[in-house]
């Protein structure tokens, strides 16, 4: 490890801390109808959209209506995408004449982009037409927005009291799209084009290399896709290798920019939450808890990658860091940081091959996703996951102050606990059960490319990525096989909506409650003790569940590697 490498992490966190407030404040102004610098252009557009769609933005929704609207927009996105993929050979904008896509891959891809997972069971540049790729871009706009709407409804459950409704979904949706997604994407695309990322509709170029070989250079509207991919924490990259290829990431500057873009809205969401509950300390406490877990994870990965693989020491390679599967341009420090971020912030696009990480590095990736993508997490959803953990932490430890546990002035009672438990149980179940089936069934076993504990890690990673709606791939797994395409598809589905619905139901119950005035007897949910309790809960409730499985996967592999054993 180098000082420079560690400094990258420190600088990143410092920049995030600085950016959280302005972004969060801007978001707060957007959602509360306060003035922003884009109003002159966007207010008339907003009104136009409402008129055209026949929406009454003043119409408040109960949690059930809100959930229905949210599910509906995801369902519509899913259906359109599914049809586009299946009917691709008959539709325009397909200069490469790509053929039929297998049905299970279509299902997997459609779910993937409807749930903001963007797990890619296909190689983008060799499977999908320009039209399909462009609709993927549309989906990459839509699915993260539903995440923010989800958060807004949830936080309103805490903020409002003696009420019934959680806001208007369509208004939240339109405002996020107009004021946040589109402006950010435009700026990001322009900057990326400026840094050298292609944006065109050309057929792929055939070139003769210096050695005389033939090479096909894939291209297309890459900058526009990748900007929303990063901004929206989607991860549905244009190229199979994502940011590892020169066209998605021409230089270190563009990679760093992509890294930062992924964080923007998630950190804004944290500060927005603090503003909405009228106590920014609450937001900062969560920010620090997330940053703490992020920093530890990043350092562990970096340390492990920099230490490298002792089995290769006798080869006398230049340096001992683990460089397998990494871009030489980025090296272990930046690659580690990017990979830790991609699993933590849930954008899921990669800059290195995760399959080639050291086992400890892979363990951190798994930890980030198995805890439910709450270390910043993607748009809104990471924050909601953390709020569910906060409810859990308050309930577990809050009794110790001698009152019915309360969070943000709302009592946490049987119904809330039931919903929090449900939101937490289902993802764990799905990961463990599908992974267990995969290692015993022939269909699953035949898709695993590596033997021993590494194979188990690959399977665990796939389902964790699906359930966590992360979308990054470990590799080493036949993701396009019918078994994995179908099951990971279900994992993505179960990972998102069984968490949405209980969380919204909880908000629907909280919003009806009376607010308990804060006093000296209130459980303090800011400050260091709370931060540690929250981290402890994520660790004990969220991660320990997977400890036995991880012991047989990356942990066993790490010790075996140190002992010089291969499988």
């Amino acid at each position: 490890m180098t000082v420079q490498g560690i400094l990258q992490l420190v600088v990143l966190l410092a920049v995030l801390a600085l950016l959280a407030k302005p972004i969060g404040t801007y978001m707060y102004r957007v959602y509360h109808g306060e003035r922003t610098f884009l109003d002159a252009v966007l207010r008339p557009v907003e009104r136009g959209v409402y008129r055209f769609m026949g929406i009454d933005p003043a119409q408040e929704m109960r949690w059930t209506t809100y959930a229905l609207a949210l599910l509906a927009i995801n369902a519509v996105g899913f259906i359109i995408l599914f049809l586009l993929i299946v009917l691709q050979p008959y539709l325009p904008l397909n200069p490469q004449h790509f053929k039929h896509v297998p049905l299970w891959v279509a299902w997997n891809t459609a779910i993937s982009f409807a749930t903001n997972t963007n797990w890619q069971a296909y190689g983008g540049e060799s499977t999908l037409s320009y039209l399909t790729q462009m609709w993927l871009v549309v989906q990459q706009f839509l699915s993260p927005i539903t995440g923010v709407c989800f958060l807004l409804a949830m936080v309103r459950g805490f903020v409002r009291h003696n009420a019934e409704t959680l806001g208007n979904f369509w208004q939240d949706f339109v405002r996020t799209l107009l004021w946040i997604s589109i402006p950010l994407a435009i700026v990001a695309t322009l900057v990326m084009v400026g840094l050298g990322t292609p944006q065109n509709f050309h057929a792929y170029t055939q070139v003769t290399t210096l050695q005389g070989g033939k090479q096909t250079i894939a291209q297309g509207p890459i900058a526009s896709m990748n900007s929303i991919m990063q901004i929206g924490d989607n991860g549905g990259g244009y190229m199979n290798m994502n940011a590892g290829t020169p066209f998605e990431s021409p230089n270190a500057a563009s990679l760093t920019l992509q890294l930062l873009m992924g964080f923007l809205v998630p950190i804004g969401c944290i500060y927005l939450f603090g503003l909405m509950v009228k106590d920014v300390r609450q937001g900062w406490a969560i920010f620090v808890a997330m940053a703490l877990m992020f920093a530890v994870g990043a350092l562990v990965v970096y340390h492990s990658e920099a230490a490298g693989n002792p089995l290769l020491a006798h080869l006398h390679l230049a340096g001992h860091a683990n460089m397998e599967g990494k871009e030489t341009r980025f090296g272990p420090a930046l690659s580690s940081l990017f990979e830790n971020s991609t699993t933590a912030v849930s954008w899921g696009s990669t800059a290195a091959a995760n399959d080639s990480l050291t086992p400890m590095g892979g363990l951190v990736m798994l930890f980030n996703m198995m805890t439910g993508e709450v270390i910043f997490g993607s748009w809104g959803v990471g924050m909601v996951g953390m709020l569910a953990f906060a409810v859990m932490a308050v309930f577990l430890a809050g009794l110790m102050v001698g009152r019915t546990p309360e969070y943000l002035g709302k009592k946490i009672q049987a119904y809330e606990v039931k919903m929090a438990v449900l939101a937490m149980i289902v993802p764990s179940f799905v990961i463990l059960v599908f992974a267990a089936l995969s290692v015993v069934l022939k269909a699953g076993r035949s898709g695993i490319f590596n033997h021993g504990p590494h194979g188990l890690s690959e399977v665990l990673y796939a389902f964790s990525s699906g359930v966590g709606n992360n979308g990054s791939a470990f590799g080493g797994l036949n993701a396009a096989s019918p078994w994995y395409a179908a099951t990971v598809g279900f994992a993505m589905l179960f990972g998102r909506f069984p968490m949405y619905l209980p969380a919204l139901a909880m908000a629907g119950s909280l919003v009806k409650k009376q607010r308990v005035p804060a006093s000296a007897g209130t459980f303090p949910t800011h400050g260091w003790l709370w931060i540690l309790l929250l981290v402890g809960t994520v660790f004990i409730v969220g991660a320990l569940t997977f400890f036995p499985a991880l012991a047989l996967g990356p942990i066993a592999e790490q010790f075996a590697m140190q002992a010089g054993k291969v499988f």
Binding site: A397, L399, K418, F523, F547, I555
Partner: protein
């Protein structure tokens, strides 16, 4: 406010009166609890507690597994698995034992109460005259006659007569109380003893619904409902158990994939260790013993919800008189009008009070004698007692008419004798009012001499208790009939946060509703019928046992000692129950970390020798490690029974401090203790050669 039963009302009399407050490990009680623990193994009973039910099912499996090994002659495996299943069964039994202990302590209390009412006969009024019937045959509306020496056959209301009644059977308070027809002191309770006079009582509760019946029913587990918070916690524990079941079930395929053979019994051992058995096993014991602890304070909660609400209370309404201040006022100063000396005023004040036997009168005499050295005697004077009409009292002595009383009545009296009231008198009385006192005007013949300053005396120690409540984040509100000026002064002196002056029953109720709308959970004490509406609105409504039936019906707790200060004990008990639950939950969940480190390496070290590095406790062998974890998991339950039954000590400090202390003890303690415990047990297991240890 009735104060007969609260004479010298200090902290609750406690201890030694009832069975159940006796020695903690009463041998009788323990013996019965053991039997009960075995009886509770019935699956139908176990199903009430999902966590322990899972353990029981696991025990059945491991037992079957052990028998299988025995049959196949594999004695090494049999020895190991049999020991595991013994400890799993013990885990279930310990949990049942904890519950049985808590119930047993309650039942002992209930049995003592029930003894008081067996075989009571009642003289029922019938058209054909009085008729002897068993007390249990009485129905609502019957009228009975009770004379001195008889036991009251059922709950009722005095409709005729006055009697002194010994209520010690219920309250433990030996001083008799007076019950009379009409007014706020008409309620009598079944099981109490009439010691003087004769009363007619209308029965207000039939068989099985009397106060005593309800009390007994509540104490016995049959009618114990889970409190809302207990239900929430039970859901969480069931959820965690469910997660761990999936973890363990999926571990079988994972280990098969990894070529690591793990027996079903070992998987079950892991499941039991991970499941929150510690809190799961003690949860109901905590709830039951909480109710018992309230009963030891002589408070009966009519619902579990009320106990929990007591812990949540954020505003407490306290009556000024009798709760915050002594029931009577004391003279502290004489304030003469112009032209009269203090000494002269003191002398006549003394004379006016010489035969006045009220505490106020005695305090005037004492003040005059001690501070002003007056020593007048009034041999041969005629005492004029206080009446509601004159609102004055005094002495006719030596041809002089000496009176003291409320300002306006004395003024009228003076004017009727042809005197004039000095202008300055009004300002003197007002000053005294402003200081929070009660002014009594003294007059001799047709002259007003001045004012006696009677002051409310704040009870000793009340300031500290209110301070404790404030530190715990609870707002205290003083309720008084005084005018706002007086109330403000007393409120400041006592140290309450708010006050409600010139309180009427309606204003009290409105105030409570307003506080509730602001999100406060309100607790109050009441006794009179006019308190009933306010009691009905309060979240924690403590009715005095001396109070009227209406008040008792409206309350959700009854204080048998009728000590209004008890509210503070109730709040603390409520908090204690919640803290105990939280502490043991945190402890239980934190325990899992160490258990993982004990069992996981033991399970997989054969397949992956590298995992030996996770054996940070350096346990001897996989077998000793697993057995030690299971033993620790079982033994921790009985070890914590005293804590569950007595409750975690509650100190009134702010939530942040409380949280920090408890997280340190039960959170970090819960992380660290099992590491030490399992290691020690492992050393013992190894030393005793309890299992064959395969050396690696």
């Amino acid at each position: 406010m009735q104060t007969e039963a609260v004479a010298g009302s200090g902290p609750a009399p406690s201890g030694g009166r009832r069975p159940g407050t006796e020695a903690f490990w009463n041998r009788d009680l323990v013996g019965r609890a053991f039997k009960e623990a075995v009886r509770k193994l019935h699956p139908r009973w176990m199903a009430h507690n999902p966590v322990m039910f899972v353990v029981e099912v696991g025990s059945v499996f491991t037992t079957a597994d052990a028998i299988r090994y025995l049959a196949s002659g594999n004695m090494v495996q049999f020895g190991f698995i049999a020991q595991i299943s013994v400890w799993l069964w013990l885990t279930v039994l310990f949990s049942n034992f904890a519950e049985a202990m808590a119930e047993g302590r309650g039942q002992a209390q209930a049995a003592a109460l029930r003894r008081t009412r067996t075989g009571v006969m009642a003289k029922k009024e019938t058209p054909s005259g009085l008729q002897e019937v068993p007390g249990t045959d009485l129905v609502k509306g019957d009228v009975v006659v009770i004379v001195a020496g008889e036991v009251v056959p059922g709950d009722g209301e005095v409709i005729e007569g006055v009697a002194a009644i010994d209520e010690s059977a219920i309250t433990g308070e030996s001083a008799p109380v007076v019950r009379e027809a009409g007014g706020d002191r008409s309620a009598v309770t079944g099981g109490t003893l009439v010691i003087s006079d004769r009363i007619r009582v209308r029965i207000t509760a039939g068989r099985g619904e009397t106060f005593l019946d309800r009390m007994i029913g509540l104490i016995e587990q049959a009618s114990r409902q889970k409190t809302p918070n207990e239900i929430a916690l039970a859901i969480l524990l069931a959820g965690l158990t469910l997660i761990f079941i999936v973890v363990v079930v999926t571990l079988a395929p994972f280990s098969a994939y990894s070529h690591a053979t793990v027996s079903v019994s070992v998987l079950i051992a892991l499941l039991v260790c991970l499941a929150p058995t510690t809190i799961g096993g003690l949860l109901s014991a905590i709830g039951i013993s909480g109710m018992n602890r309230l009963l030891q304070h002589n408070v009966i909660a009519l619902s579990g919800r009320a106990i929990e609400a007591a812990g949540d209370v954020s505003a407490i309404l306290l009556d000024k008189t009798g709760t915050l201040t002594m029931g009577n006022r004391q003279a502290v100063e004489f304030r003469p009008v112009a032209g009269v000396s203090e000494k002269e005023l003191a002398e006549f004040a003394l004379l006016s009070s010489l035969s006045d036997d009220t505490p106020e009168g005695r305090s005037i005499v004492k003040l005059a004698r001690e501070k002003y050295g007056v020593n007048a005697q009034a041999e041969g004077g005629t005492f004029v007692p206080f009446t509601a009409q004159t609102r004055m009292s005094g002495l006719d002595f030596d041809g002089r008419v000496i009176r003291k009383g409320a300002g306006d009545s004395v003024a009228k009296h003076v004017q009727s004798l042809g005197g004039t009231v000095p202008d300055v008198l009004a300002s003197v009385t007002q000053e005294v009012s402003k200081l929070g006192g009660t002014p009594l005007v003294v007059a001799v013949d047709n002259r007003c001499l001045g004012v006696i300053y009677l002051k409310d005396v704040v009870k000793v120690g009340i300031g500290e208790r209110l301070g404790a409540l404030r530190r715990a984040g609870i707002k205290t509100v003083m309720i008084t009939g005084d005018n706002p000026l007086t109330a403000a002064t007393i409120a400041k002196e006592v140290g309450v946060d708010e006050f409600l002056a010139e309180a009427t029953p309606e204003r009290k109720m409105e105030y409570i509703i307003d506080q509730k709308n602001q999100g406060y959970l309100v607790a109050m004490v009441g006794d009179g019928t006019n308190d009933a509406p306010a009691l009905a609105h309060a979240d924690v409504a403590v009715a005095m046992n001396t109070g009227t039936m209406a008040a008792r019906e409206a309350g959700n707790m009854i204080d048998l000692d009728s000590n209004p200060q008890k509210l503070l004990d109730i709040v603390e008990t409520g908090k204690q129950i919640l803290i105990t639950r939280g502490a043991l939950t945190t402890f239980s969940v934190a325990n899992d970390v160490a258990k993982y480190f004990a069992i996981l390496p033991a399970m997989f070290v054969v397949a992956f020798p590298g995992l030996q590095a996770l054996n940070i406790m350096h346990l001897t062998s996989p077998q000793t490690a697993i057995l030690s974890a299971v033993i620790f998991n079982a033994l921790i339950i009985p070890a914590l029974i005293p804590l569950a039954l007595r409750g975690v000590t509650y100190r009134p400090v702010d939530a942040a401090t409380l949280l920090r202390n408890n997280v340190l003890v039960y959170g970090l303690g819960g992380l660290a203790l099992p590491f030490v415990g399992i290691k020690l047990i492992d050393l013992l297991v190894t030393a005793l050669h309890l299992v064959q240890t395969t050396v690696r």
